[in-house]
Amino acid sequence: MKLRAKLGYTAAGMTVFAALLVPFLLYGLFTKGFAALGLHVDEMYSGGPKVRTVQTAGYSIDIHRPVFPRMLQREGPFVQLDWKPVSALPAHVSDVVDVDGDGQPDIRVSFDVPRDAKTPLRVNVEALNPRYEAMRNVGKEKFSRLIVRVDDAILVRVPLAHP
């Protein structure tokens, strides 16, 4: 038998052996390898990392780092704020928030908190700083301009004014 044929059969045998290892070793190995690549989900979906938490009476507001579109992404820039826990929120929320942490109020956010989790949410945002865009009666129009309930938080994404 030629060397090439021997190598071929060896490779075929190793392939069958690799098949045996898939559920017990390879699958887990590749999964861990992929997870270890240090990749992250696009911030347009995830909302960007949390940078600050503002404590209010009974609930907190998480402020995320502003997210800017990449390449030709169809969404505009925004900043995400999370009100949580939902159970501690009053029936109507109206908060003035210092988003950039400079000690000056940037936006006033108002929304109703229906007890039924399936009731659609609407939000009004008044821009106290021209860096932020106002929103009137917005639901979940786009990733960069919305109010949604995710698990035990209400997320508001406020669009940033284009420079």
């Binding site: 392939t15 030709l72 129009e141 698990d151």
Partner: protein, 390 residues
Amino acid sequence: MATKARIWKPGDTVPRTIGRSLLLTLPIALWSLLMFANPQRQSNRSLQIASVITSIFMIALFFMMMRTGSTYRWRRWFFVALGILFPVGFIHNVMVMRGTMGIPIEEMIAGRTPFCYLPIPLLILPAAFTKTLVFPGSILPGGGMSGAGMAAMAGVWLAITLVVGKGWCSYACFFGGIEEGMASVPTRAKLRRIDPRWRYGPWAVLLVMVLLSLALFEPAYCLWLCPFKAVSEYVAARNTVGMVQNGIFVVLFGGLVIALPLLTKKRTQCAFFCPFGAFQSIFNKTSVFDLKIDRTRCSPCVLCKTACPTMSLTDESIARGETLMSCMKCGACVDACPKHAVVWHIKGTEVATRPERARLLFLYAAWGMAVMFAGSIIAQGLATILHVLV
């Protein structure tokens, strides 16, 4: 032609007796028991019963492959079952969890969008340049309907691809079975003259979608062109754009997965459109198994070319004694050849010296993966039916 079992000539060394076929089936039977004897299934009676049925189904099909020497004829039963039962299990899951097949924006933000393998080639360039995955899912467990996340799907895809290469499209893909089923309905193709240039379609779609995904920083194929959104999960139509997207999904599904396979007896979506299939073709170069044509036996009658569901054989490739790189090792050409000229082959070995050995080794690897990955999906779909009906 491909539906007929291959008849073995006297002197063939392939197993034909029941005893020898059973002996050759034994490793797959043990593998099935190992895969389906999962303690986590014990609490779910429907899944227990479905697992037993699936296990018997997969073992029986492998036995018939050994007994008759035909691959495609029996593989097709498995593949169509997978294509039908995947949407059954999946749609039931999404309906139970959120009451609609349309994925709401909050689920995307929460990273709970189920991730299948089709967007994998689209994610490579954005990930390579920016370390960002342009998909609204989770990397680790916690996202996806299975709770597995993108890393798990990438892991299982890579592991199975390492073993079967482009054979993924015939032994693991949970979408292709619908069109394979459709293609097997008519006895003869009504549309026989197909411009061979359509074969470049998947490569064109792949190129455009990869570049668009990088430019728009979104999974462009999932958002605009995936026909299987029609039977899995679509974009919740919040506006006109969403309505247009869903309209495209339905039209592509109806045309490429239902109508054209019925007219052509081909897997038209796979052959002319699927960018993942084109991407997966690259792994035919790394796989040790392929199909060859023994030129000393070939007439050529081109029955293999007619039987190929993805048009992976041309007059030129037959003359060269090989398939095109889009071949997904379904075995239709092998079953169709009356001269036994189309054979399974291990790279580096002489063509047609021990084709049954090559077939056996490939089938052990491919069927092992089919039982492990696709078998669990079949069982899940079957369990859903049992749960709903019984």
